[in-house]
Symmetry: D2
Subunit: 382 residues, 4 copies
């Protein structure tokens, strides 16, 4: 697929994801860590305008001068911007106008790519495509979070049962002690945080070929796992008490039966399905209860050839920090990854909401220990 | 006008007020004290369904069983309800469906009124009409608050310049010491909090025939009124410091010139217009600076025949408390007024956003001292 | 008693109240609305230094230049001061040094009074004595609050059973409709907020000669009074839910029996004793349950000759606002009362912790509706 | 030194550190992350009573049954306890009684050790000694924090100028790429989090032999380092804005000159002294400005033979997480370290407040990125 084809299909897929939405569904921001659908589709557009067209397209005219303030996410180098928690206050520009904006920018990039594009611009368009793929996943998870908070439990798409995933393998894979290399190597796209391929020393370990299932987790729950403080990290205890947590996110016990909210509506919890929407605190408490542990990200990366991954973002026992020789890019795109390297955990894998071919074994996703609205799961190591 | 005509014209006027809105504008809740337009138009409908149709219309079928939870405002006797701060999370039911709900209930009331309506039901429909008129004003002020927070400063209606109001009288009116009567008397509708007409003793006072103007308030500002703590109540000082207040709400200084956001867009502050969008704290500080004071609600009511009122809700120096012999109604509608009698101030008058004929000299409006998003002003007494 | 004698006995009584304390007990501030004992004894001293000695005593040398910053309470006109919530952070100056400060200022005032004191200074010393009497009461109530929060339940003074008080009268007293006068009149000391004696119009009412007892309140509790929202003000419901309130302050159910923490330790709740440590919300809910109401402050003042008052601060149904013709004093002492006239309720009476002869029928005490750490009770009106 | 001698000298040293205190200074808790001196001296005593005497000393009588509730820090397995933020509310037990408690427990341990102590008890007493040494450092840093918040700037000990420390070496030390071993090995005491000696792979690096000085940091400040967002982590920017940070903790600019609060009072900032009281955010921003980075804890441990360490706790670029094969102890002491392994950073080294011989190259200290009240500094790597 050419870059232009890849670009156009990515733009198109975002819009497809929005097809089941009413205009109302585009607007609302339930929590600071989520964004309205409208904002996602405008911000991914802004990214191409701000980083590509503004610099590389001669005589480019901005679609609307106010949009930089509204649709910049966190790039300090790109100027002032609306507070993150206020993204849901913007009833204007309308959804219609944002689709006009998308069309305008998509066409401008198409024209630019059909010309004689600069090497650096091509890099940035590639980054923009990957950036939009990340937002496709966030769009789905943010919509799920929004619909779940609605007492009417709206259905996003009855055929889109994103919960449906089971393990295909069982048992444990072994890795031998020794020096290994991790980090990206190759000529395709990767993020700056995957670079600096480097050696690590691993001890012998065995890693499960399957992800923990709802059934296994229900055993933990029934064994009093949420109540026994010995399984929990100190911050996990505070988080659990403060938020009154006693099950994975979206689970609800109705007349003694566990249900979970899905994008296809409320469904009974299936013990054979892979567990999802758990925090790092829950993942590590479960592992502690099993007398096992989570893998480090290096262990996961080395072992990943031996199991079927990509069903869930998997919490690792690694902090999201720079690899040796990490270098952030020049200018605003240097803010893409590096400045978030504090207090977050690395997740490896991909989820059913991840855009096709977006992830890879060296991919480093990162969230806070308490976050659960992504499709997060866990794999055990002993 | 018959009750049915009054009912239909009230229902219609609410919808007219929404005519300039896009669907997006119906959804968002900026602050807990405001509600989305969508919620206003549904809640006023719920009021008729819950208090009239449910009880008095034989074999009435609820439009949707979930709506009681969603569109009940604060009536504990009507069951559980969504948290007030979450009214903006409801992307569903859609705006379209809410208009269907309005139509369904409007028609049901019409049919009911065309039958042989119960005396008590007629009372409740009258209350429902007045209730909807109150929400018409809130709808306007909530929209203004929402548009003002949008960096694009959307225009609600260019012809609807709600700021435009000037005094028609000058000087002071005198009232002689003596026993007077206040409170509603007559056979038309009034709220329970106006009842219990009773005697009060007033001392001699003089009350301004005009409301304070922007020009007079600018003098206060230029004289350092916001900085001199001697003019301010203690809680006003905290409120001012915490929220960094140094002008009325919606005022913004651009290149040395004061502008104010209006429903017709940004406008220069006109010194001859009546001041609005001020807190009780600002009102009382201004009065202190002038070495005068605010009227009590009894003084205002007695003097109101002597001046032209209805331009602004006017802060009084009276707490919102029960009149002697105040009796709240039976059941849920007893929650309408009485339970708010704590810590709020009485405002008298009406505003340019108040529905026609909704207010009267005995009308007791009430807000917290720090609230400014209503069209609030002040009148001096000496 | 001469002014000097009154001054010396007031200063001495404050120190007597501190006699049961260890040094540790002087330091701690549990909540922003309380102050450490140390701060009370220093601030009452500062008042005499700042308002009397600094201005009227020729060549007066400040005891310590830093003390103005530390021991000013809320007088903006007296310069910057430590934040109210930080009064408990001051381990230095030591308690010993503060007693030296007291001695120094007491002696300086004595010398000043033995000379040829200025008329205005005499007024301020009288104010300072009354101010110190108010702090004597706060000292007792703040210590009670502090000891109550200690899991060891320390005893302040086993002989000082401040809870011990019973009604001596029963039945209701009647007051006839008509014009009455309220507000202070006479030549003794009163606060500025009692002045401006003025006429009010009262309707017929009957007021209980006795205060509500623990036994009566237990009936309310047992009848589900805390659970039935219909008895409660809206803000009371929020306060109750947020703070998980289901009994008066300091009450604790141990093995099915109600106890209350007192300055003499934990005691069984005696049904015959007068109820205390309740909020305005609880008072008004109780009255609502009884189908009666609280008196207004004018009603209380007029009726007070007909009953035995002074057992408890009694919540009235009046907001703390200015009397007609209220005038605040010049300069810093003008901040004494006036600037607090917002959102508080008037309490009338006195409590077992009130210094002898400090209160009178025109005395206007004021607290927020949710405050309970004063000895607060209620009297019913019908 | 025998274990008994070591025990007695540790107990004695804690008391020596309290010698300059007044009783008032023992009581106050300024922030949740600090504890009152009184609490430190009681909690270190409780540790011996709870973990040693209660289990191993036959017929041991608790000094006071209430003390477990009050002086347990965070051991869920040892039962309920007072909230961490309420440690400063305890005016009772008095300081005198706590010294009696110390004496009682010190003597009981002495008697126990002079008998025939159990192997496991000896381990726990050794742990208790190390635990008390950690609290000795916290005692000093908590007192500094408390005195610094006092507007009188009290002096702890004029001869105890804890700021006085300079580098003795310059230049960079080199470490060659390869497999190294880190973690404790030997027969002396170490914490469980240092165990599991294991191999790591390090790349070539050069590490500074000196710590960053005040003078170097002033250059960063003068170059606008606090203002340029490109040097800062995202969370660091929020922390800086929210807390209005523009210098290290305890620094104050007076008439254009930088001073710092020390335990010997206010002192001019000396450019040659080693920088201290900085957050991880400031450390990493400084390193970014220098185009260098912080060492990982493995790099630090391997390189530590090549430089003079022990002047400051040094922020590393490593998260505080479990070593491979980390095992927590059985029972309550298992809560000592492991449950804190989330979101904190490792610090290596020791500080001028660290008790003699308490630290070692494998020692893993840990704090949150924003914490500054420990004596924290930084060392650069390139």
């Amino acid at each position: 697929m050419s870059l232009l084809e890849k670009f156009l299909s990515t733009r198109n897929y975002t819009e497809q994801l929005c097809a089941p939405l009413n205009i109302e569904d585009y607007i609302v921001q339930i929590a600071t860590f989520t964004s309205p659908a409208k904002w996602h589709i405008a911000h991914t557009t802004w990214f191409f305008e701000e980083f590509v067209l503004k610099t590389y397209q001669k005589d480019y005219t901005h679609f609307d001068d106010d949009f930089n303030f509204i649709f910049n996410s966190y790039y300090n180098n790109s100027g002032k911007r609306i507070s993150r928690s206020d993204r849901g206050y913007l009833t204007r520009p309308t959804v219609e106008r944002i689709y006009e904006y998308r069309k305008y920018v998509t066409e401008a990039i198409q024209i630019y790519l059909e010309g004689n594009p600069d090497e650096k611009a091509i890099e940035l368009i590639t980054l923009g495509i990957n950036h939009e793929e990340q937002h496709q996943e966030l769009l789905i998870t943010d919509l799920k979070f929004m619909f779940a908070s609605n007492p009417l439990h709206p259905i996003y798409d009855a055929k889109f049962d994103i919960i449906n995933s089971k393990n295909t393998e069982t048992g444990f894979a072994s890795v031998q002690e020794g020096v290994y290399e991790i980090g990206y190597q190759g000529n395709d796209f990767c993020y700056d945080n995957e670079l600096g391929r480097h050696k690590v020393y691993l001890n012998d370990f065995e890693i499960s070929k399957s992800l923990v299932t709802n059934g296994e987790y229900l055993e933990f729950m029934e064994a009093g796992g949420y109540e026994d403080f010995n399984f929990w990290l100190e911050e996990g205890l505070h988080w659990k008490a403060k938020n009154n947590i006693n099950s994975p996110l979206y689970w609800e016990k109705i007349n003694g039966v566990w249900y979970q909210f899905t994008l296809a509506g409320m469904k009974k919890v299936d013990p054979d399905q892979i567990l999802t929407h758990i925090s790092y605190y829950e993942a590590s408490a479960f592992a502690e209860w099993k007398s096992m542990r989570l893998p480090t990200e290096a262990e996961w990366e080395i072992a990943s050839q031996q199991f079927d991954w990509g069903q869930r973002w998997e919490w690792t026992n690694s902090a999201y920090l720079a690899y040796p020789n990490f270098k952030k890019s020049e200018g605003a795109v240097g803010e893409y990854n590096g400045k978030f390297m504090d207090k977050q955990k690395v997740l490896r894998g991909a989820s059913v909401a991840t855009s096709k071919n977006h992830s890879r074994p060296t991919y480093r996703n990162f969230f806070y220990s308490e976050e659960r609205w992504q499709f997060t799961g866990l794999r055990l190591v002993k």
